[in-house]
Symmetry: C2
């Protein structure tokens, strides 16, 4: 078998989600994922450290969102910088990833270990976004509030994007959710 396999990463990710949905995350071994993808276990381990990493990656999202906040124009308000972060997310959440993302969420919801891992990821995302806001010169507690606000916008957009009834692109729903939350601010009192 050749060392380089075309689309190995995507084939492994698809095979993993299929098996997690069919037989449960806990009951699925790395060897089965590799077999389903028509690849070897050692190819799997060149792409992922373990089966959990198939679902959670290596903090790419955290780097993407925080990086976009840091790179937003100096004139951007905190919510403007959040908008830039959502645009960056939209560039990677293309329509071809939507079914996979929905299935991934179903696997996470069904597995308490994975729900806990998702909360850890949420905490590290908010921390990274708070740090990026501070780097822009945003003071405390505005930086932390902006990060929580941004996560909520991202989460609301993500839920709508993976909804089977939804049709819109991630970037579109993200802009709408951000605007909807911006209006919500005025009703807090």
């Amino acid at each position: 078998m050749a060392r380089w396999e075309p689309n190995a990463h995507e084939r492994l990710a698809s095979a993993a989600i299929e098996l997690f949905l069919q037989q449960g995350y806990e009951n699925t071994a790395v060897a089965e994922i590799a077999e389903r993808a028509g690849l070897t276990k050692s190819t799997f381990f060149r792409h992922f450290t373990d089966k959990r990493e198939v679902l959670f990656g290596r903090d790419e999202l955290s780097r993407l969102l925080a990086g976009a906040i840091t790179a937003a124009p100096a004139s951007a308000t905190p919510i403007g910088a959040i908008g830039a972060a959502l645009d960056a997310a939209a560039a990677v959440f293309g329509p071809e990833r939507r079914d996979w993302a929905r299935n991934r969420q179903a696997v996470i919801t069904a597995t308490s270990e994975l729900r806990e891992r998702e909360l850890l990821k949420r905490a590290s995302l908010v921390e990274a976004m708070t740090g990026a806001m501070r780097e822009r010169g945003v003071r405390d507690p505005v930086a932390g509030l902006a990060a929580e606000f941004g996560y909520l916008a991202f989460e609301n957009a993500f839920k709508r994007w993976i909804d089977p009834a939804g049709r819109d692109a991630f970037g579109e729903v993200a802009r709408e959710e951000l605007e909807s939350l911006r209006e919500a601010i005025t009703e807090l009192g």
Copy 2:
């Protein structure tokens, strides 16, 4: 030994925190906690289902905060209802609980299993507060935003309250943090 032990709950909680700090959470057995408190294991289990419950309780905080939001006057804004929730928390976070709360936080920070448990508790608190906001007739996504805002105010206040350099009562710092976050809103853009 008498069936009823005066202050058994507080004695067990103090003994547990002492041992967790001295020898680590994982290395402490329920039998040791009971012994340190001068009580039996069966007395321990009349008060707590396991040693984790000494630290996290039985969702009393969730009920307390959500209950206060529900009970706030109909005329109160979402932030007004959050203020009522923080007042309710202040009524139970008296000065006599401050050292214990600080030590508890040190134990949680030192133990990854407990940090994950704390994130689960955060999620369930936000969910309970979101539900209480909806019951007040607050629409989505304002309800969720108000709950996140309220948790942030609570968290910021709690951190300041347990800071060894701090001297102020919980109610006082909570009101200040809430006001500080309310001002921060205007800087989001």
